[in-house]
């Protein structure tokens, strides 16, 4: 298992992941920008602190399970996996290319460490329930199943079917991380299909709900630790994030949901992120 790193290193890693996301997307010429950038801090927290995993042995039987239910955000996972040492960062630029292990939406059979194939929304939480139920039958208690899902994604009925099941069977090993970035393809979530009162909905379904600033790495790590300590119920961490986080002209603009930057926009974005990277180092010196 990788060593735990001090916060400044984590913030630097998150920034590197953001730069890699921009490079991957502009090179691919298609893909989703806002979600992956907004999730960079959460994936840094997961891969560099929260998860028990071994990048050199992705199928390690003792590992925690991380499911990415909203598969379109996979660039952030690829970038985090490369940073963590699952594969060489150079491979990131093969994203969405013919023959690449880095498919436009994640395919388990192509790249070790992905756990599931996803893209069509709403199927991650129920697969997590299946894994948790199997673990219970095998008397495995200290293995966590984290499910990252989008807020727009929970328009899907399958999510609420899974929410009921997890609650019925008290699947406390399931920890949901709901990326509350308030956008989906057609616009703001509250206009497309209102989700509020989001906290009350999950609580009504029998879940323990934590809310956290999803762009605060330390807060995400703490929330995950808190979630693991709650044994009565499954836990949903509502992680408030800024879509497009780190790139000023992308932040909170739903048009960037499913769009890559063009080369000029990418240059601007990378410049901003490099400046941000310098500031992170500066603040901690």
């Amino acid at each position: 298992m990788p060593q735990k790193l001090p916060l400044v290193n984590l913030e630097k890693i998150a920034n590197d992941i953001r730069e890699d996301i921009i490079r991957m997307l502009v090179h691919a010429g298609s893909g989703h920008s806002a979600g992956p950038l907004g999730l960079a801090d959460i994936f840094t927290a997961l891969y560099f602190d929260v998860l028990r995993h071994d990048p050199k042995n992705p199928d390690w039987s003792e590992r925690d399970i991380l499911l990415l239910s909203n598969g379109h955000c996979v660039p952030v996972r690829y970038a985090a996996m490369a940073q963590a040492g699952y594969f060489d960062r150079k491979e990131l630029l093969t994203l969405r290319q013919f023959g690449s292990r880095l498919q436009g939406h994640p395919e388990r059979l192509r790249l070790p460490g992905l756990e599931t194939t996803s893209g069509p929304l709403g199927c991650g939480l129920s697969q997590a329930c299946g894994i948790a139920l199997a673990q219970r039958m095998d008397s495995i208690t200290h293995r966590w199943i984290y499910v990252v899902m989008g807020d727009g994604e929970i328009n899907e009925g399958n999510i609420w079917e899974a929410a009921m099941l997890a609650s019925k069977y008290h699947l406390n090993n399931v920890i949901g991380i709901l990326d509350r970035n308030n956008i989906q393809i057609d616009g703001p979530t509250e206009l497309v299909m209102p989700l509020e009162d989001l906290r009350a909905k999950w609580e009504a379904f029998g879940w323990h709900v934590l809310e956290v600033n999803g762009n605060d790495i330390e807060a995400v790590i703490d929330a995950c630790a808190m979630a693991r300590s709650i044994v009565e119920k499954p836990v949903m961490i509502i992680a408030h994030t800024i879509p497009g986080k780190g790139v000023d002209f992308m932040e909170s603009d739903f048009h960037w949901h499913g769009m890559p930057p063009n080369p000029e926009q990418a240059r601007k974005a990378l410049h901003e992120l490099r400046t941000l990277g310098g500031r992170i180092r500066g603040e901690h010196e």
């Binding site: 697969q127 997590a128 899974a162 009921m164």
Partner: protein
């Protein structure tokens, strides 16, 4: 031809619902392998999972009326090393949850065993909504999926045991009403194998599921007409036993397919694809002709929609005449 140890159905055959065989097979598979688990969407006794639930309550999951969840929880169970059998009525699973099956089971390559009960016109009085006729086509088109349609309860029992050992995603179709038992405990079953139940040289009748019995009855009628029909029972629609089918058709040079499902994309579709590319001969597909069912007794419905032995006989005459 090896001895298939078929039952004697010359008189009034023994009848048992095909789904009962699944229930016994699942219990037996559960006893053989601790990793066999089961989940159901509020139809546990109806789909015959009750035996398993009562014997292995800790290995049974009640999902409630949520078929999308049923198969995706199944994918999760398989991911964690279980051999999950997930059941509902075929109209709902795979009727409602096809995309979940496509993504989380087939593309994701998880060996979930999907059981669709109460399929076909044998669902009878429940009417068109519940008479699932499109399941074979829906499952057959999916890469990696194995499609099994047993011909009687004993074959369903053997198929269930075979599925528990198969590492691929599987779909098995079951019927509700009691239907004739054509086989015995000694009759062989292997996934992917078709069996010649009745040898003949003049016409090949390829049948699956409950319709194999009617094909055998049609063969008796045809014998009296002076036509020797070869009846090939196809319990695995995919992968299709091309060798057995082609061997028979090269001999008889004309074919009738018989199924209690839509002929578009079903067994008829599969056979037409195979023969069209390899050995084109006169072909007639018996099944549901792009139409929905309705309430009624199964025999009444089979006659109304042209699936009974007398219609199979007429089709055999038609293709034989075209040779």
């Amino acid at each position: 031809m090896s001895n298939l140890h078929l039952a004697d159905i010359s008189g009034e055959p023994t009848r048992e619902p095909i789904r009962k065989g699944f229930g016994r097979g699942l219990l037996a598979a559960g006893k053989l392998d601790i990793n066999v688990v089961a989940a159901c969407a509020d139809l546990t006794d109806s789909t015959q999972m009750g035996l398993f639930r009562d014997n292995f309550p800790e290995r049974f999951i009640e999902i409630g009326i949520a078929e999308q969840n049923l198969v995706t929880v199944g994918a999760g169970l398989a991911a964690a090393g279980k051999i999950p059998f997930v059941s509902s009525y075929a109209a709902f699973s795979p009727g409602r949850n096809w995309e979940q099956i496509r993504t989380t089971i087939c593309l994701n390559d998880r060996h979930v065993k999907i059981i669709g009960s109460h399929a076909g016109l044998y669902t009878g009085k429940d009417g068109a909504t519940h008479q699932m006729l499109e399941d074979i086509a829906l499952m057959r088109v999916l890469p990696n999926m194995v499609v099994i349609v047993p011909g009687d309860s004993l074959e369903a029992e053997k198929a269930t045991l075979a599925m528990a050992k198969d590492l691929r995603p599987n779909y098995m179709r079951l019927a509700r009403e009691p239907t004739p038992v054509l086989t015995t405990a000694e009759t062989p079953f292997e996934i992917g194998t078709a069996y010649v139940y009745e040898p003949g040289a003049d016409v090949t009748i390829i049948a699956t599921g409950t319709m194999t019995y009617h094909a055998l009855r049609a063969a008796e009628l045809l014998y009296k007409d002076g036509i020797e029909a070869e009846v090939v029972h196809v319990p695995t629609i995919k992968p299709l036993d091309s060798a057995t089918i082609l061997k028979s058709v090269r001999k008889t040079k004309c074919v009738v397919t018989v199924e209690e499902a839509q002929i578009i994309g079903g067994l008829g579709g599969a056979v037409a694809e195979l023969l069209g590319e390899n050995f084109p001969v006169p072909l007639k597909r018996i099944g549901m002709p792009d139409h929905f069912g309705e309430s009624g007794d199964p025999d009444e419905l089979l006659t109304h929609f042209g699936l009974d032995a007398s219609h199979i006989r007429l089709a055999a005459h038609e293709v034989t005449a075209k040779k």
